[in-house]
Symmetry: C2
Subunit: 222 residues, 2 copies
Amino acid sequence: MQKINVRKKLLSANEEYAFKNTRFLNEHKIVCYNMISSPGSGKTTILTRTINELKNQIKIGVIEGDIQTDIDAERIRATRAPVVQINTYGACHLSAAQVDSALKKLPADELDLIFIENVGNLVCPSALELGEAGKIVVLSVAEGDDKPAKYPAIFARSKVLLINKIDLLAAGVQDDFDIERAKADARKLNKDIEIFPVSAKTGDGFSSWYDWLKKSVGKNSI
Amino acid sequence: MQKINVRKKLLSANEEYAFKNTRFLNEHKIVCYNMISSPGSGKTTILTRTINELKNQIKIGVIEGDIQTDIDAERIRATRAPVVQINTYGACHLSAAQVDSALKKLPADELDLIFIENVGNLVCPSALELGEAGKIVVLSVAEGDDKPAKYPAIFARSKVLLINKIDLLAAGVQDDFDIERAKADARKLNKDIEIFPVSAKTGDGFSSWYDWLKKSVGKNSI
């Protein structure tokens, strides 16, 4: 019983911060997405390309979650987008309290959109609300087409699935990845999920992702 | 304070089961490795190749940890090695208690070696001892050469690092993966770590891994 009570207490403390973050984002008219994937699926590369290619249309800020190092924040900084690094030092996901403190360090009045790049982990971050408008899951084709079936929670809870590294399909080196199977399994879990196959390396497939993103921040007429 | 006490209690319950597992494995003269990686790094493909190619020399059993599905256990079963599936239904790592119950279902008297394939997660499983003789971390070159620096715990605690999918390096599609950087970063965290670059797809690099494995189960003269 004691265990259950503590867990409840922890969850509701996180929820309070998540509500606070949602309120803050709404007040500043900022759309916020929580990006989740395994380590090395390409979250940072997707973000740097997106920021560089949309910088004249959408003002984007980033909250970078990493267990250790600021390698990813440095890569975002090179785009000149505002970025705040959070190091979790061992923890497997970001908490809403960490996002609360990071939000205060971003120039909120100047931003349309904030991406939270969560710790690389396909499991734990899916359970914690950070106050975001939606989750975006990234799956690299190198990880295999069975991942939606094997790690269902994050696919069930995401607004968007970006299937990254499709250049590996074109190069013929990842010929055992059945993209239709991955899509069908994700849609079985979540019939409304938007799916964009992309290559952050070549830029292939990004225009549909950009259209969706512009629409979601109310800039679809640009 | 309450929170800390509960955490301590949970940890020591796991430790008790881990000790029990170690005792059981020692009594049966079984070497046991706990294999950990991100989703899709190739753990199951490494295991099926290893079992198939060593089946006349080492008797191998497998404990398969997955959040959901028995896709991986089915792949192991096809090699005819004994396998027990554990589904965690959301939990991000295996516990020693789960391994305890799985060990009872394997034909322990007939085995030299048991691989525990943990849930695909580069973070959480590194914190929990299951009673194994050592951890083996798998990193696919598709994940990037910065992963030892960014996810240090598991690299610091593993006996072996298998750098998988080196066929992608040879194919020239993953030319931004600096294998020397990955090795150097892993050795900075863990000077004794054994590193084997392999391709589970082509079999490249497996002979050194097999030599190490045979030596570790006392069958180096085979």
